[in-house]
């Protein structure tokens, strides 16, 4: 049985489908991003058809003598329609150098394991079309994280920071087992935290953040976004929200954000990270503001 109820159609829903896109800042942003991109890509794809693409891949292996000094290896990969950066490095690994190391899993921008630094920007390998990039394509491991081998970086610190904010649902008054029932969330509240729940822990935001690079204790955009997801969830209650804000309002919490917007710009899931951090700053101020 479905636990979801059919919701009545909103009377305020715009009738014009073109107007629908302008509902939220996130959707507007996505619209702007896609605007004209399809035509450009088709043009570029036709141009590259039958060509090879040069990819320059960062190489480092502490266990092999001649790879201990980092360098870039060139691979000429035959272009195929719809080829992504991940497809290209996989081709290079399969056809030219089986020692080429990188993480990947789902290949559909869900697992977040193949975040690379491609042409000077943090991107998901499986989501980035080769036809959208300037040639040659320069593929490096994520900056500000130590390189373990080739494109693989050490994510321990990132995960530590994520766990610092207690990234799990906490209920302050869990009813006895026999009275347990689903905890329903209002559609408005769901809408509020919808974008923050899209995080796939790829680490692109943390890697793009200068403040996180300079301050190892800074929670970082991903962890703060994760905290936002729970702090703004009405079902957790005020007490837990205060507890979460206490974690976030520390010196190395939200206040370290310098609004560079780097995280927001590179997030492959278009999460408005800076927006969320700023909102938590305001929440922290409101919590501590007393007039007496």
């Amino acid at each position: 049985m479905s636990t979801q109820q059919a919701e009545p159609e909103s009377q305020e829903a715009p009738e014009d489908p073109e107007m629908k896109g302008a509902e939220s800042p996130q959707e507007r942003r996505l619209e702007e991003k896609d605007d004209g991109m399809v035509d450009e890509r088709a043009e570029k794809t036709a141009e590259l058809e039958g060509e090879t693409v040069l990819i320059k891949v960062f190489r480092y292996d502490p266990e092999v003598a001649d790879k201990q000094e980092p360098r870039f290896d060139d691979f000429h990969v035959p272009f195929t329609k719809g080829m992504t950066v991940l497809d290209a490095v996989m081709y290079a690994r399969d056809e030219y150098d089986s020692s080429l190391t990188f993480r990947h899993s789902c290949r559909q921008a869900v697992c977040g394991s193949d975040a690379f630094f491609v042409n000077g920007r943090q991107r998901l390998g499986c989501k980035t079309q080769i036809s959208d990039l300037e040639q040659p394509v320069r593929i490096e491991p994520l900056p500000h994280q130590e390189v373990v081998k080739d494109l693989v970086v050490d994510m321990d610190h990132f995960y530590d920071q994520m766990h610092t904010v207690e990234p799990y649902f906490q209920d302050e008054d869990t009813p006895p087992v026999e009275d347990l029932e689903e905890q329903r969330q209002s559609p408005e509240n769901r809408e509020k935290i919808k974008m923050s729940s899209r995080c796939i822990w790829c680490g692109a935001c943390m890697s793009s953040c200068n403040i996180a690079a300079g301050d190892n204790e800074y929670l970082g955009p991903a962890a703060i976004n994760k905290a936002y997801k729970f702090a703004m969830d009405d079902r957790e209650g005020e007490e837990i929200k205060e507890h979460r804000l206490r974690i976030l309002e520390q010196e190395h919490g939200v206040w370290r954000c310098q609004t560079q917007f780097s995280c927001t710009e590179v997030c492959p899931k278009d999460i408005p990270l800076t927006e969320h951090i700023q909102e938590l700053k305001r929440e922290a101020v409101k919590k501590n503001l007393k007039f007496w």
Binding site: P25, R28, R29, Y60, P62, E63, P70, G120, R121, P143, H144, E146, V147, V148, D154, N210, A213, Q258, T259, Q260, F261, S262, E265, P272, T274, E275, Q278, E279, K281, R282
Partner: protein
């Protein structure tokens, strides 16, 4: 993990061409902030010459021969000082405009246009600075 490679900050700075609008705004804001602090101390140092002026007689001050007036007039007569003043105006204007932009960001207003507002701050700073040139360079002796 046995060994890993830390690419360090040098590679970071090498990527300056890839900085985004928000990053440039941050860099310029910090830079202009430090310049303004530097100016503040210089300003205090120059103004402190007025302490000597206080001991001068009224006649000397009226004749504009006191140490404070002569120091300022001497400085204002220099082309370099006038140029620095134009630079100071540019720095202050950008810092103020970007400060307002940051205030808006803090309040969650116009977050989608944060890059455009940065460019607008730059353009406005440039326009105000250029417009100020005739005023600042009036009567300067090289």
């Amino acid at each position: 993990m046995s060994q890993s490679y830390n690419r360090g900050l040098i590679e970071d700075f090498g990527r300056w061409k890839e900085f985004s609008a928000g990053m440039w705004a941050w860099i310029f804001h910090k830079f202009t902030g430090w310049v303004l602090i530097g100016y503040l101390f210089t300003h205090i140092a120059v103004l402190s010459t007025s302490i000597g002026a206080a001991s001068e007689s009224t006649d000397v001050i009226q004749a504009q021969n006191d140490v404070y007036t002569t120091t300022l007039q001497g400085l204002e007569g220099l082309f370099l000082i006038r140029l620095l003043e134009i630079g100071l105006l540019a720095v202050a204007v950008f810092h103020i405009l970007n400060g307002l932009r940051l205030l808006m960001v803090d309040l969650g207003i116009g977050l989608e246009s944060q890059d455009k507002s940065f460019y607008a701050s730059l353009v406005l700073t440039g326009a105000i600075t250029v417009a100020s040139v005739p005023t600042f360079l009036t009567g300067v002796t090289l």
